[in-house]
C-alpha cells in the first residue's frame, strides 16, 4: 500500500521545517552549544572568575598530568568505573544466567518495580541515606557487629582507605538494579523454544548461557555499560554530599574538581580543562561501547 502511494509530498524540501526546529535549536545553542565552545576557550586561559584573564596556552592541560590532585581525581574516576559499571554488570549477568529461564516468571513486574526503584530517587536523597548507612552506628557497622566483626567497624566515609570504595559501593547499589532490569527484559525477548531445543540437545547451563543468553544480551549490555560508565565518570552529587572530596582528596573526582576550581578556588581555566577532558572521555567511551551493539538493529 505504502509503495503505491505517491511520496512526493514527503520528499519535497519544506523551508517551513526550520520554523519548527528553531525554538528547540535556539535554546540548545544558547544554553548548551555556545557554552560548550566557551569551555574549550576558557581552558586555554588563566582566570579567577572576576578580574582579567591571561593566555595560558596548554598549561591547564599539562597540569592535568603534573598536578597530583588532578591526576588523582581521574584515577579515582577509573576506580569508580570498576564499582559503578564492572561490578553491577558482571553481577547482573551472572544472576541473569542463573535465572534466565525465569524471566517470564509470575510476579516479575513486582520485582522489576522494586529493583528499579533506586533509579527514580534523587541522588541527593540517595547520598544522605548512605551517609547514615555508613555512619558509626549505621547499618554496615550494625551488620558487622552482628557477626562478631566489631574490630573492623569504622566511620567508612571518613577513612582515607575506605572512603572511595564506600562511595563506589553506592554506585554498585544503584547499578545492580538497573542492569538486572535491562538484562531480564532482554532475556524475556528470547524465544523460549530456543531454550527448549538447547535442552533437548543436552546443552548444559553454561553452554546455554554462552550460545543463547549472552548473544541476545549484547544490546542491553552495551546500554548498561554506557549508562554506568558515564554515571561513574560524571559522579558529582554523591561525592559532594557524602565526602566533599575528602578526607584529604581521597574521593575527589573530575566533576568535583571542575566545580570546586570554577566556583570556589578561582581557577576557572583549570576547571575548563578538566571539563573538556572529562567530556571527551565520555564521548570516546560512549562511542567505543556502542560498537559492542549488534549492527543489524534498525
Amino acid at each position: 500500500m505504502a509503495a503505491i502511494l505517491p511520496r512526493r509530498s514527503r520528499r519535497r524540501v519544506r523551508w517551513k521545517a526550520y520554523l519548527y526546529v528553531l525554538p528547540a535549536f535556539a535554546f540548545f545553542a544558547i544554553f548548551l552549544g555556545v557554552p560548550l565552545l566557551q569551555t574549550a576557550q576558557y581552558s586555554f586561559y588563566d582566570w579567577n572568575g572576576i578580574g582579567p584573564s591571561t593566555w595560558a596556552g596548554v598549561q591547564n592541560y599539562v597540569d592535568l598530568i603534573l598536578d597530583q590532585k588532578l591526576r588523582d581525581s581521574f584515577v579515582h574516576a577509573g576506580i569508580l568505573i570498576f564499582f559503578f559499571a564492572a561490578v553491577p554488570v558482571v553481577l547482573a549477568l551472572a544472576l541473569t544466567a542463573i535465572i534466565s529461564r525465569g524471566a517470564r516468571m509470575r510476579g516479575m513486574s513486582i520485582f522489576r518495580t522494586l529493583l528499579f526503584l533506586p533509579q527514580v530517587i534523587a541522588s541527593v536523597v540517595v547520598a544522605t541515606t548512605w551517609v547514615a548507612i555508613y555512619s558509626p552506628n549505621g547499618l554496615v557497622n550494625q551488620l558487622l557487629r552482628a557477626v562478631g566483626l566489631d574490630s573492623i567497624t569504622t566511620a567508612w566515609l571518613g577513612g582515607f582507605a575506605t572512603a572511595l570504595p564506600a562511595v563506589g559501593l553506592i554506585g554498585s547499589w544503584l547499578g545492580i538494579g538497573l542492569c538486572l532490569v535491562l538484562f531480564l527484559s532482554g532475556v524475556a525477548n528470547i524465544q523460549p523454544e530456543l531454550f527448549e531445543s538447547a535442552r533437548l540437545e543436552g546443552a548444559g547451563p553454561v553452554r546455554e548461557f554462552l550460545s543463547i543468553t549472552l548473544p541476545a544480551l549484547r544490546g542491553p549490555i552495551a546500554v548498561a555499560l554506557t549508562l554506568t560508565v558515564v554515571a561513574a565518570l560524571k559522579t558529582f552529587d554523591l561525592v559532594y554530599i557524602t565526602t566533599h572530596g575528602g578526607p584529604g582528596n581521597a574521593t575527589s573526582v573530575p566533576a568535583y574538581e571542575a566545580y570546586n576550581r570554577a566556583f570556589n578556588t578561582g581557577q576557572v581555566g583549570s576547571a575548563g580543562a578538566v571539563a573538556v577532558v572529562l567530556t571527551l572521555l565520555i564521548l570516546i567511551i560512549t562511542v567505543f561501547i556502542q560498537k559492542l551493539q549488534p549492527k543489524d538493529v534498525e
Binding site: R12, V223, V274, A275
Partner: protein
C-alpha cells in the same frame, strides 16, 4: 517437573534477595524518619513507636514548603517548555525534508551525551552577565535546553512510527502541517508524550548541580538543594534528615508507584534505542 519447581524456587530466592538489597536502604530511611527522638539513630532498627514529628520538624525547620514550591514551579515550567519545543522539532525531524537536517539532528543527539560540566561553567558567567543568575530563569532555561536533546529524540522516534496513511489522508483533506501535527498526530501520541513528560519531570526534580551553581537565595532553592544545605546543618540528626529525604523523594516516588510501567519502559526504551 521436580527440577523445574526447584529451579523456580531458586529463581525467586535470587530475585527476592536482590530486590531486598535495592529496597532495604530505602526502607531504613522510612523507619528512621518515623523514629522517636529518644531512640538510637542512624542504624536500621524498628522504632519504639511511630513518631511523625520528624516530618513536621523537617518541614518547618528546613523551609521545605519553600523548596518544594520552587521545585514544582521549575519542574512544571521545564516540562511544558520541553514538551512544546520537542513536539515541534520532533515533527520536523520525523516528517519533513530540509537541508542540514541530519547535521542538526546529530548535534542535538550529541547533547544527550554531554555532561553538565561541559557547559555549566561558561553558562554561569554568561547568565550572570545577563543578570539572570539567582532567578528561576537560571534554573528553568538551562534545564529545558538539557531536556530538549532527549525530548526531540523521543518525539522524532514517536512520530516516525506514526502510520503514513493517516497523515496522507489528512493532507488530502487539505490540512496544513500545523493542523496535521496538532489535530491528527498529537492526539494519538499522548501516551508517548506523557511518558516523556514523566521522565523530564523526574530528571528536573532530582537535578542538583544546576541549582547548586545557579542560585544563592534561599527562597529559590529546589528540594534537593535545600536537602543538601539541611544536611550540612544537621549532619548527625539522621532521623530528621531521613524525614527530609522522604519529603524530597516522595513526589517522584508516588508518580513512579502509580506509573511504574511507563517509567521503566520509557527509560529502558528511550535509552536503548539511542
Amino acid at each position: 517437573m521436580r527440577i523445574r519447581r526447584r529451579e523456580m524456587a531458586f529463581n525467586y530466592t535470587v530475585l527476592i534477595i536482590f530486590s531486598a538489597i535495592a529496597v532495604i536502604p530505602l526502607l531504613g530511611v522510612l523507619l528512621s524518619a518515623v523514629t522517636p527522638k529518644g531512640d538510637p539513630q542512624g542504624g536500621f532498627q524498628l522504632p519504639s513507636g511511630l513518631d511523625l514529628g520528624n516530618f513536621v520538624e523537617a518541614w518547618n525547620r528546613g523551609h521545605f514548603s519553600t523548596y518544594m514550591t520552587s521545585s514544582a514551579l521549575v519542574t512544571i515550567s521545564v516540562v511544558v517548555l520541553t514538551t512544546i519545543m520537542s513536539t515541534l522539532a520532533g515533527f520536523a525531524f520525523a516528517r519533513m525534508d530540509f537541508p542540514g537536517k541530519n547535521a542538526l539532528f546529530f548535534m542535538l543527539l550529541a547533547g544527550l551525551l554531554l555532561p553538565a560540566e561541559a557547559f555549566i561553567i561558561p553558562l554561569y558567567y554568561n547568565l550572570r552577565s545577563a543578570g539572570i543568575t539567582d532567578t528561576y530563569w537560571a534554573l528553568i532555561l538551562p534545564q529545558t535546553a538539557q531536556s530538549l536533546a532527549f525530548g526531540v529524540f523521543w518525539m522524532r522516534n514517536q512520530f516516525r512510527t506514526f502510520p503514513h496513511e493517516i497523515m496522507e489522508a489528512g493532507r488530502l483533506d487539505g490540512a496544513s502541517d500545523w493542523k496535521l501535527l496538532w489535530k491528527v498526530i498529537v492526539p494519538p501520541s499522548i501516551p508517548a508524550i506523557s511518558t516523556m513528560c514523566l521522565l523530564v519531570a523526574m530528571w528536573t526534580w532530582n537535578e542538583f548541580l544546576i541549582p547548586l551553581i545557579m542560585v544563592s537565595s534561599e527562597n529559590l532553592r529546589t528540594a534537593p538543594l535545600g536537602l543538601a544545605f539541611f544536611q550540612g546543618q544537621h549532619i548527625t540528626d539522621y532521623s530528621l534528615l531521613a524525614a527530609a529525604g522522604v519529603i524530597v523523594a516522595l513526589p517522584i516516588v508516588l508518580l513512579y508507584i502509580f506509573l511504574q510501567r511507563r517509567f521503566i519502559s520509557g527509560m529502558v526504551n528511550g535509552i536503548s534505542s539511542r
